[in-house]
Symmetry: C2
Subunit: 215 residues, 2 copies
């Protein structure tokens, strides 16, 4: 069964796609144009009642929420492609911990920054410098903790690439591309080295090549 | 090994504790007083560098982020206590989906509501009626989708109690206790019935009895 992924150009959907590539799982994509409101169409709302991206369809099975989808596929194809949960239950626990840090500490300030820099004109938002500064400061504090963690560990969850690292790629990309905040990565030696390692993986390069970000 | 749970009185830590009770896992607690800043002490920051609750210590193993901790223990004690991830991989996928919905759709507006109602005086926040109204409206839309889901399914992920339901207990409790927003549950027939079922589980009653909420 080929997995259908909705809305491949958007960042959250790319979280799913890069995972499918790492796991060597066949997929096809279905375009959804957020800026035309296609995520609020009755058909799409049947799949994802909150009207958010991404969602997947896999035969009769459907699922939404990117971090739920990637967990599902990593377990379903445990012995295929890259092992993204580590080898032991304790390693998996740490992957889960850093996946949650990504979702709750890294993502929210970055998402606000992206809205107020990359998408302000498209969304008709007047970029608010105070909001930008506050969220940059919040994200900076988070990245300081990453810097310390990555000074003793090659990847976030340990000495292995995992879902926790992968999950940072789609929105992290905007810091260096579009948001003009690349220095937040580059000024932190270990974060910078980590970013180079994870963003140079063939899987991520393939995603960027196949599905350019919306502009 | 007895699991040590830090900060048992706070809502996020209760997410861990109710899970340990469901899984029949022995634990002890370590008090952390947020209002005295004990979560920023050097010792606690070694355990949880972001200074957030909860964290656990289990022999030499430590973990933080409540939703990571509960996933870890549900897998580690798969055949003990309540089965909180369902029986199949597909059921587990749906549990993960609704756990993410809890974290990203249900929790953020509710958390803001709780800050501006329950804890405003303790935190020195002037309750902002506009913020309260906006977040109540957001949460209401989320609960409308829950209402539809729960009209065809006894629990969120299917016809079985799971981590997805459990994860709503600690902050959902505030809607009916302290925030004065119980009508948001009670005005929605299926949400109300679901809430009664999950909040009457012996595990949750035990948590409330053992560890009263901070006032």
């Amino acid at each position: 069964m080929v997995v259908k992924v909705y809305g491949p150009e958007y960042a959250s959907s790319k979280r799913v796609i890069v995972c499918l590539v790492e796991k060597e799982i066949e997929f096809e994509v279905v375009d959804i144009d957020l800026f035309k409101g296609e995520n609020k169409s009755p058909d799409y709302l049947k799949l994802q009642p909150f009207g958010l991206l991404p969602a997947i369809q896999d035969g009769d099975y459907t699922l939404y929420e990117s971090r739920a989808i990637i967990r599902y596929y990593v377990e379903k194809y445990k012995s295929q492609g890259t092992e993204l949960f580590g080898k032991t239950m304790e390693e998996k626990g740490k992957v889960e911990q850093w996946l949650e840090v990504e979702a709750h500490n890294f993502h929210p300030p970055l998402y606000t920054l992206v809205l107020h820099t990359v998408f302000s004109s498209k969304l008709g938002i007047t970029p608010d410098q105070k909001v930008i500064q506050e969220n940059e400061a919040k994200l900076g504090k988070v990245l300081d903790i990453y810097e310390e963690r990555l000074s003793t560990s090659k990847y976030l969850a340990g000495d292995f690439f995992s879902l926790a690292d992968l999950s940072h790629l789609p929105f992290g990309h905007y810091l260096l591309n579009g948001a003009g905040k690349g220095y937040m990565i580059r000024d932190r030696k270990h974060v910078s080295a980590w970013w180079d390692v994870i963003s140079n993986r063939p899987s991520w390069k393939k995603v960027l090549q196949l599905f350019p970000y919306p502009t």
